[in-house]
Amino acid sequence: MKKEKENILIEVNGLKKYFPIKKGIFQQTVGQIKAVDNINFKIKFGETLGLVGESGCGKSTAGKSILRLIEPTEGNIKYNINKSLQLDQKFSKIDITKLTSKDLRKLRQEIQYIFQDPYSSFNPRKNVESILSEPFIIHGFIHNNDLKTKIHNLLSDVGLKPDHLKRFPHEFSGGQRQRIGIARAIALKPSFIVADEPVSSLDVSIQSQIINLFKTLQDKYQLTYLFISHDLSVIKYISDTVAVMYLGKIVEMANNENLFSNPRHPYTESLMSAIPVPNPKHNDDQILLKGDVPSPSNPPTGCYFHPRCKYAKEICKNEYPPLQIYDNNHHVFCHFSSSLQLRPLL
């Protein structure tokens, strides 16, 4: 048990992010959008946790909250520091939510974020060289005079060339821009990266290049990833553990093999069956959900999924399902997870 605890890089407990809905002249709070509603998970060193869900499920908000790019409403995020960051806080195990802003900035050498849209994440007036030098400049790593070498190494790590340095982001293709974003994120050799839909805006043939790059860098630099995507097939390829989100909550979490061969939540089942299979002869027996994803400002009672769930019974309308844990740390929130025989990914 103890050995496992040492192994954990980041532990998220009870994370919530609520956005107030304000109306009226005096901007009174009339309701809450529960974008992230009590999520819990742990990620081990060197592992990739895939966070998957459709639009509005809160996965991007969760990713930003973990890095405090958005301030969480509640919850704690325990993190094991690897570098000597010279924080005011002396311990190596810290709670990210409790750091001062000065310490948080220093911690950002270790925890990084990669955006979905690599174009808007760059200052349009700065060229690649400025973009890549910035992490070094901010954290004071310029006195060694080998900044040029470091930047050249970054470029070759991500498959870019030195003559790209003087160019500006808008002169590159989507895939190349994402490479620049990745290069900036790994500049200071971080330990933990939150990648928020990093390949969703790229062409299919480029997606696989970038996914391969993520894997290569992970092996090379022992990176730990929280990989957020709506694309289940990308998640299936890259994740060690998968967490499925719906309306701000994690409904199922398991290791890769278990989730896909033995799903225990009806939403996971329908998500898997909805992926169009690139095989025209595939027998098409999709599970089609009724209706739309409900609004996060007005979630259904009981289990949030019950209005669209074909297995729903009375209890599902009234009570939110308790956590059930199966073999190999397979977490599910469903009243009938033990009795349902759900269809795996074929």
């Binding site: 900035r105 200052n123 349009p124 007036r125």
Partner: protein, 281 residues
């Protein structure tokens, strides 16, 4: 980085040739403003009542006014006055307004911020000229007070523009991205946001420049700006208009001077368009 901003500026002007015309006129105006008083053929204040209301001739290229003074000399010195007024008013209005706007825009959302913005919006409901006249009347009629009044009247507009612009830039992905690599607030403001709002500042200041001249002319025209015998263009128009029936030509030289300078400002702002958003093509 500064090099590329300059290059963009030049490129923009070359692309829109008409803005070059504006630039030339503007530079000529500055030249006259600085050196005008040394180039006057006659003393602009010397009256010669035997020589009143002369039309343009060999001796007085722009004619003489109601007191026999050489109009060309007065226009040249007037350029200097106009230049002084516009620079000072610009400093007061755009610099103070800009700094205030940037600070407010960068503030976190709070009741205080909302309050300040509301007060500013109330001030904005006053038309610029009305506000200038009001403040000028409160301070007393003089050229310097007119300058202060014009400068202050422009502050609400700058505060509004920059608070909005900085607020929106602050929420953009590239700023969040800078935060995510550990940039401090100072760095975000000066290294990231400021260069992106510099073009807006420049365009607004050029347009403000044009407004300043018109405002000064208006204030002088109604008597609460420059006081005689200063050859401010606005005052010259006022004095000439009083004598329109006898000497209709009198209003023309100062009016054309104002027209040309204001035109040059508007033409130049066109050339700045390229500068504004070149990278997002």
């Amino acid at each position: 980085m500064k090099d590329s901003l300059l290059k963009l500026l030049i490129k923009g002007f070359l692309k829109r040739k008409i803005s070059l015309v504006g630039l030339v006129i503007f530079l000529f105006f500055i030249f006259c403003g600085i050196f005008g008083s040394y180039l006057t053929p006659y003393d602009p204040y010397k009256t010669k009542f035997s020589n009143r209301y002369e039309l343009p001739n060999n001796k007085n290229l722009f004619g003489t006014d109601w007191a026999g003074r050489d109009v060309l000399s007065r226009v040249l010195v007037g350029a200097g006055i106009t230049l002084k007024i516009s620079i000072l008013a610009l400093c007061i209005g755009s610099v103070i307004g800009g700094i205030l706007g940037i600070i407010i825009g960068f503030m976190k959302n709070s009741l205080l911020k909302m309050l300040i913005i509301q007060i500013n919006d109330i001030l904005l409901t006053f038309p610029f000229l009305v506000l200038a006249i009001l403040i000028s009347a409160l301070l007393g009629s003089s050229l310097n007070n007119a300058i202060i009044a014009i400068g202050i009247s422009r502050i609400p507009r700058y505060v509004r523009i920059f608070s909005l612009v900085v607020n929106s830039e602050k929420n953009k992905n590239y700023v969040i991205s800078a935060i995510s690599i550990g940039a401090s607030n100072m760095r975000i403001l000066f290294y990231h946001i400021l260069p992106n709002i510099l073009p807006i500042f420049l365009v607004n200041t050029v347009l403000f420049f044009a407004l300043t001249i018109i405002a000064e002319a208006t204030l002088s025209f109604i008597g609460i700006g420059a006081q005689p015998p200063l050859p401010s263009w606005g005052l010259m128009i006022r004095q000439a208009s009083e004598n329109m029936l006898v000497y209709p030509f009198g209003v023309i030289p100062p009016s054309i001077a104002i027209l040309l300078v204001v035109l040059s400002a508007n033409l130049m702002s066109d050339g700045l368009r390229e500068f504004m958003d070149p990278k997002l093509r």
